[in-house]
């Protein structure tokens, strides 16, 4: 099934099962590896993304549930000129 997703401000068409967790779509289909697989049960927070501006566990969010909604991953937090956001900066090995 083709899912229409809006990730970090860009539209994407992804061919994936609609019940696939958003985390897998981000990592396996879109190469956005910032969100991590930790517990897979919505407990540890390693998979956190923002959906419509609110923090959500992407490992327990079916991809179909975010169609038509804004998803922001840690990759999408940088400023328009590419400057790292404070959160990205904290994760950066070069700081």
């Amino acid at each position: 099934m083709t899912l229409s997703l809006l990730i970090n401000g860009s539209p994407h068409q992804v061919d994936a099962a609609p019940d696939m967790p958003l985390l897998y779509v981000l990592r396996d289909h879109l190469g956005l590896n910032g969100a991590k697989y930790g517990c897979g049960m919505g407990q540890c927070g390693a998979c956190t993304v923002q959906i419509d501006g609110r923090a959500a566990y992407s490992c327990i969010t079916p991809a179909a549930a975010v169609q038509g909604r804004r998803v922001t991953t840690i990759e999408g937090l940088s400023a328009k000129d590419g400057a790292l956001s404070p959160l990205q900066h904290r994760f950066s090995p070069r700081r």
């Binding site: 967790p21 897979g40 923002q50 959500a56 327990i60 969010t61 079916p62 179909a64 549930a65």
Partner: protein
């Protein structure tokens, strides 16, 4: 004719004046009858002077009675009050029951504490709102009230003034509470039933007295009084959550046993029934500090409420209702898809299986949606049942689809009213944002 008219008016005028005087006199009478004297303050007792054994006994009663649940605000010091208690009549703020001399009960003698617990009257003489369940505490023994007093007076004093209550007129006029008490404050000391076991009697005392279980698990009438008789324990509500029936009307009554009830009360969850959530979560957290024998006694009494009270046989654990996966997926394909992606990772089978879950078997969707939207925090020592919140993951339409699917698959009852599902989602979202 003219003469008669004037006379009639005069007569009506006199009658009105007479009635007004009568009403005023009656009003004064009510005020006088509602008046309670202040009890003179005393010096704050020295904690070192209190017998430690009494404090320990009081601590167990405070745990069973969940005092801290209402008398502690989120993130605040234990027993220092200020927690907002939403009622159908407005918001009441719990008072400070630490021994602070100015803002707490530090200068209350035992006699004032006993009067507050049994008659709902503050030390200074004003009537307390029945959000404080004194209709239950009135059943407590003198010895237990002294123990509870000893426990509270040896807590760390915290200076904290509760915000003013925000109640609708005319309920913000406290002397009226005297009338409410005439109607509803009728409980005397607990009378043990010699025909039943010591454990049953202990459980009954704890449930009816300090534990005040029926304050939430019985319906209230329009004046906020607990319905008794055949309606006692037939289910009520608390803070927007449904408090399920604790009698034979509980959806899982045929499967609950004293043993599973004890597990639930001690750990916050029981396989095949679900986990404590909403206002029951802090109750279970408090019970973790109660003596095991007391929790066992509560379970024995609850088991009797479900199976013995109405003359029914004690229910052996029956099978959970069937899992109607195919029918539910056929009727609600979107819900099935969401369940597969969001829920089945944990809820596929085993201990977290959803068949028989109380919240899905209740007539309304409120509890289930509140749990899904807000999640469930593990109630005891951060272990036990936990569920992440789905507020940000699922939109309103998807939540409604999921609720309809869950009800049909696991619920064992007629479909939930879609309008009620929509309203429950909105209410749970409002609360979730407020926190």
């Amino acid at each position: 004719m003219t003469w008669r008219k004037i006379s009639g008016r005069q007569r009506a005028g006199r009658l009105a004046a007479g009635l007004a005087v009568l009403a005023a006199v009656a009003g004064l009478g009510v005020l006088a009858a509602s008046w309670r004297p202040a009890i003179a303050p005393v010096a704050v007792p020295d904690p070192a002077s209190v017998y430690p054994g009494l404090v320990q006994r009081g601590a167990a009663l405070a745990a069973t009675g969940d005092c801290a649940v209402c008398h502690t605000r989120t993130g605040g010091a234990a027993y220092a009050g200020s927690r907002p208690l939403p009622t159908p009549f407005g918001t009441i703020y719990a008072t400070n029951i630490t021994p602070d001399p100015e803002t707490g009960i530090g200068r209350w003698p035992l006699s004032a504490f006993r009067r507050a617990m049994r008659q709902g009257v503050s030390r200074d003489g004003h009537h307390l709102y029945p959000a404080m369940p004194y209709t239950h505490y009135a059943r407590m023994t003198d010895g237990d009230l002294a123990a509870l007093y000893a426990f509270l007076m040896t807590r760390r004093p915290v200076a904290a003034e509760a915000p003013a209550n925000a109640l609708v007129f005319p309920l913000n006029f406290r002397p009226e509470l005297a009338g409410w008490k005439l109607l509803f404050l009728r409980s005397g000391p607990f009378v043990p039933d010699p025909g039943r076991s010591a454990e049953w009697n202990r459980g009954a005392y704890l449930a009816e007295g300090p534990g005040h279980c029926s304050a939430c698990h019985s319906p209230l009438d329009r004046l906020g009084g607990e319905r008794g008789g055949a309606l006692a324990y037939s289910g009520g509500s608390a803070e927007g959550w449904t408090a399920p029936p604790l009698d034979g009307r509980n959806p899982g009554a045929a499967r609950w046993t004293a043993a599973t009830l004890e597990t639930y009360l001690r750990s916050g969850a029981s396989p095949g029934h679900g986990a404590a959530a909403g206002p029951m979560a802090p109750v279970v957290r408090a019970l973790a500090d109660a003596p095991q024998g007391d929790v066992r006694a509560l379970a024995v009494y609850a088991d009797w409420l479900m199976h013995g009270a109405a003359g029914g046989a004690a229910g052996p654990a029956g099978p959970p209702p069937p899992d109607r996966a195919e029918a539910a997926a056929g009727a609600h394909p979107r819900g099935a898809l969401l369940f597969a992606g969001a829920c089945s990772g944990c809820h596929d089978e085993g201990a977290a299986g959803l068949a028989g879950t109380t919240d899905l078997a209740l007539p309304g969707p409120e509890n289930a949606l509140r749990a899904i939207i807000g999640g469930i925090a593990p109630p005891v020592d951060r272990t036990g049942a936990a569920m992440p919140p789905f507020a940000a993951s699922l939109g309103d339409g998807d939540l409604a689809e999921l609720a309809a699917y869950l009800r049909l698959r696991f619920g064992d009852g007629p479909a939930w009213d879609p309008a009620r599902i929509t309203a429950a989602i909105a209410a749970a979202r409002t609360e979730e944002t407020a926190e």
